[in-house]
Amino acid sequence: MIQYAWLIPLLPLIGFTIIGFGGKKLSKSLIGLLGSGSVLAAFVMSVLIFTNVHEGDKYIVKVFDWFSAGSLHLDFSFIIDPLTCLFLLIITGIGFLIHVYSTGYMHDDEGFHRFFAYLNLFIFFMLLLVMGSNYVLMFVGWEGVGLCSYLLIGFWFKNTAYNNAAKKAFIMNRIGDLGFLLGIILLFVTVDSLSFADGGVLDKVSAVGRSNHGTMELAALLLFIGACGKSAQIPLFTWLPDAMAGPTPVSALIHAATMVTAGIYMIARSQVVYTMAPMAMETVAIVGALTAIFAATIGLFQNDIKKVLAYSTVSQLGLMFLALGVGATTGAVFHVTTHAFFKALLFLGAGSVIHAMSGEQDIRRMGGLAKKIPITHATFLIGTLAISGIPVLSGFFSKDEILAHAYEHNPVYWIAGIIASVMTAFYMFRLYFLTFKGKFRGTHEQEHHLHESPKSMTIPLMVLAVLSVIGGFIGIPHLFAHDAHWLHHFLGFGDILTLSTDTEWALLVLTLFVVGVSIYAAYRAYVKEGRLPAEKEEQLNPVQRLIYNKYFVDEIYDTLIRKPLDWISEKFYQIVELQIIDGVVNGVGAGVKWVSSVGKYAQSGSVSFYVLAMVLGAIAIGLIKLW
């Protein structure tokens, strides 16, 4: 079975090729069928492979020799191990659901075929990313998903703002990619291999890493820069909220469930490197924690339904990095999984809301939608509960594991995690209440049009809702069941929690308590008191304004990087390029011309002068040579 693993990425690629070349000639239903079908087939393959993979397995499926140069040999081959399998399932599974959802959501869009082509291409690259059996092939997928992200964010390419958002996403990703690439190269230079196969880069690193401490730190940090870009961590996070410009299914698939978690995958894959690099680990944890809190605070003040979710994603990703940083690799991957479920659910739910609201995304214009769109409401509520970490739902288990590990590593991280969680619960319920409770605040016309989404959209919502509820059981902690943590065993990262049961319980209860308080606060504010977010920025106090404007990070980047770059480039062009360098070149030419134009007057036309010159020449020669 496993030797056919190459079919998994190939199927979406075929889908992409057919849809891409067929274009508008194909009917929409055929496109939908092809697009979803290819991913479904990939999903089925993934399941089949998954059933054949057991903990500790590692298979390499070689397709062809890609290229080699000197000691660098790169195969185009795939790795199949538990980590990859898990990601395969998430990508193809959620990918399939979102494809289905999209057939409904994008049905009336003129770029329907294009959309599906891009989605399939994205799935292909994402699969390549997690299946690549060496760093370079991973990088291929890594950049490929970036490209698809670019294409899909700027899907409605007539809109300049969207285009700018797409460009921003691509470029910020590329900043990370450069770090990633340099990290890869550093690893290659150090251990002379990039393959994940046995005896490849990872094994070599674990063998020689101790003696190359500094190199490993550097490599880990460089890789982390890449992860920051892709997974929207400080300081490269600002593209993700802007990326909401793309169609909502894209936000769900790429900017919540899969692509943005590539950074976690990559670090998990490189766990060996990080274990050699404690400082880098600490950096990861700090950045993760900061991002979690920072993004959460911004989320508190956002009024765009997708922006709230976007900041929530950033915050949750921060949490995952925190997990990676404190060594809870399994926890991070676990959270990736559950987050994929509930965040995809939330985004798709948001999409359904937007669909119902005829494109309105501002929660200040919503309210009281619970009755109008019940399925969406119910599933959205499940998602909200899951992300807030309400027990038994998936988010609870994964978040709990991360927090426990954080506490074990350093209580400060635990506190950070708690703060983020509290804020998450608050803004998520704020979002929920404002959207679904209270009175409708939109226009009359919008109210008239309110309707539940078609089946193609609601069914994925329901499936995801179920997954969000039960997804946590793959990693149920010891507290609740004996020998329960299946995921832990399956992945085999060996990051076992050593806290005492009492401590663990205490942490759990404390967490639940503060989250509960937070939810109540939200309830009180937005349901009981019926408060609404300010309509105008002027109504906010300075701190709120600062947060409302996302701490002006975009503006700061603009002022510190983009504008100076433009300015310097322009000045260099005008002054250094045109005046100095070209000026020197032209100046030489002009100089010769000038000398010529002045020198020609020596040719005065007068014989007397010529004779004089001749005599002077003779004198000069005589004086030089004879005296």
């Binding site: 274009g23 062809f64 020799d65 890609w66 290229f67 080699s68 140069a69 000197g70 000691s71 660098l72 185009f76 370079v136 990088f139 291929v140 997928g141 890594w142 950049e143 490929g144 490209l147 670019y150 700027g154 390419f157 007539k158 809109n159 300049t160 285009n163 700018n164 460009k167 691509f170 470029i171 590329r174 900043i175 990619d177 450069l178 690439l181 340099l182 190269i185 550093l186 290659f188 230079v189 770059l565 433009d566 310097i568 480039s569 322009e570 260099f572 062009y573 390029e577 360098i581 070209d582 070149v585 032209n586 030419g589």
Partner: protein, 487 residues
């Protein structure tokens, strides 16, 4: 012998074309270049079979008084560049089919002469012969730029181009003569010049190194010898720009690799850092220049400087990855830049402008063009699975081994390249149409063909570059061995 045929065929076809009036000229030119491409495939095949095949080799006395021979020899690198030349020339000719050129027979015969000289540069194994072909390539392109160029300053600009490149190459000649006089035998053969060069002291080598470096640096061009390039690219007719950027520029990098590095290893060791810094400056500087350009063609021109800077940096790193990356990137850049300039031509010939600010929304009216442009663009920004990636990855890898900071700065091309390329794509293709672009017509058959071929090449080379690298590797290892041995 067959190598000589590679040179002779375009020459004869060029002469023939000169005497054919009207549309026949371009057909003959196209036919001849396609034939030439097939011939080069045969050569490729023969070389894969047996690199020492005597048919690939030619040695005839030419100017006996100076030990100059008509000496042709192929190694992997040269072979690939010949392939690039023969592959691109028909595309360049085909892409010009839609244009009404005054005096087409002269135009196409000049292109053919150009091809002859370019192939000659790559296969020459005699220093003097190399120089001759090097200069010979300059004349047709100068005429092409002069006679079919656009803008009122064409004369001035092309002259600057001519004299600037000649300035460099004369110093190269001086360097070669110097090597000749210090070589063990009375011969201009490459091996002999290498032996001569390697026997020199560091000081002597440095002199030769800088003299010859100047020629190559100007040709490529790298900072700060590049100012002729944007103007020339912009004012030249599209075919000329393609020839210049797609193939001719590789003469510089090839020369650097094959005619400079092995001759002056000690100087490379001593001064390589300076050259490397220039290359890196070139990358960053040209990228920044590209970012602020308002003219589409000029933007591409600057991007070319940035790319070639990286190639040169890889060469100066002189390790396997760097040099193979350079070879690979020479090919990729050739293909990509020809595609990009064709795109510029398609846009500007339909809209009458190259101002980025006045374009936009072409994707609405011509999605197919948009896709093709995107593919070429991806190749240019070195997205994985396009040809650009393989080269760039190897190059940065190679440069990293030379110096981590160098690689970090050189790697900025990844970011800055995306910035200017996406900017141009957005300005031209995205957004809403305006009065200039809403009448944008469909691609003509020849344009479509060329772009398809280029797009296919971009993807194929990106997915399966192995055969090319395999061909280059022995030659690269030889060269590096020779350089390292000489230090």
């Amino acid at each position: 012998m067959i190598t000589a045929l590679l040179i002779g065929l375009p020459l004869l076809a060029g002469i023939l074309t000169l005497f054919v009036k009207g549309a026949g000229a371009k057909r003959i030119a196209l036919g001849a270049t396609v034939l030439e491409f097939l011939l080069s495939l045969v050569v490729f095949y023969m070389y894969r079979q047996n690199p020492d095949d005597s048919n690939l080799f030619m040695l005839t006395p030419w100017i006996t008084a100076f030990g100059i021979n008509f000496h042709l020899e192929l190694n992997g690198i040269a072979l690939l560049l010949v392939m690039l030349t023969t592959f691109l020339t028909p595309l360049i000719i085909l892409s010009s089919f839609g244009r009404e050129h005054k005096n087409p027979s002269l135009f196409y015969s000049l292109i053919l002469f150009m091809q002859m000289a370019l192939v000659g540069v790559f296969v020459a194994h005699d220093g003097f012969l190399f120089y001759i072909f090097w200069e010979l390539a300059l004349i047709p392109i100068w005429f092409i730029c002069l006679m079919w160029g656009e803008g009122k300053d064409v004369g001035k600009i092309t002259f600057k181009f001519f004299i600037y490149t000649l300035f460099g190459s004369l110093f190269m000649l001086a360097g070669l003569i110097y090597l000749y006089y210090h070589s063990p035998e009375n011969s201009w053969a490459w091996e002999n010049l290498v032996a001569g060069g390697q026997s020199l002291t560091v000081g002597q080598q440095s002199m030769v190194f800088w003299a010859m470096f100047l020629a190559f640096a100007i040709k490529m061009p790298i900072f700060p010898f590049h100012t002729w390039q944007p103007d020339t690219y912009v004012s030249a007719p599209t075919s000329g720009t393609m020839l210049l950027s797609g193939i001719m520029l590789k003469m510089g990098t090839f020369g650097l690799l094959f005619w400079l590095m092995p001759m002056t290893p000690k100087a490379v060791d001593k001064w390589g850092m300076v050259a490397m810094v220039l290359c890196v400056i070139s990358i960053v500087y040209a990228s920044c220049m590209a970012i602020v350009q308002k003219d589409f063609k000029r933007l591409i021109a600057y991007s070319s400087i940035a790319h070639v800077g990286l190639i040169a940096a890889g060469i100066f790193a002189f390790n396997v990855q760097g040099v193979e990356g350079a070879v690979m990137q020479m090919l990729s850049h050739g293909v990509n830049v020809v595609g990009l300039f064709l795109i510029v031509d398609i846009v500007s010939s339909r809209t009458g402008t190259r101002e980025l600010a006045s374009l936009g929304g072409i994707r609405n009216v011509n999605p197919q063009f948009a896709v093709l442009y995107l593919i070429v663009l991806l190749g240019a920004v070195a997205l994985p699975l396009t040809n650009g990636f393989v080269g760039e990855f190897l190059l940065i890898n190679g440069v990293y081994q030379y110096g981590a900071w160098m690689a970090a700065f050189a790697g900025l091309t990844i970011i800055l390249g995306a910035v200017y390329m996406l900017r141009s794509y957005q300005a031209v293709m995205l957004g809403n149409t305006n009065s200039i672009t809403n009448g944008f017509t469909a691609l003509q058959a020849h344009e479509k063909t060329v772009l398809f071929v280029i797009a296919a090449a971009i993807l194929i080379l990106g997915v399966y570059p192995k055969p090319l690298l395999d061909v280059a590797e022995p030659a690269v290892l030889d060269l590096i061995g020779s350089i390292k041995a000489g230090i």
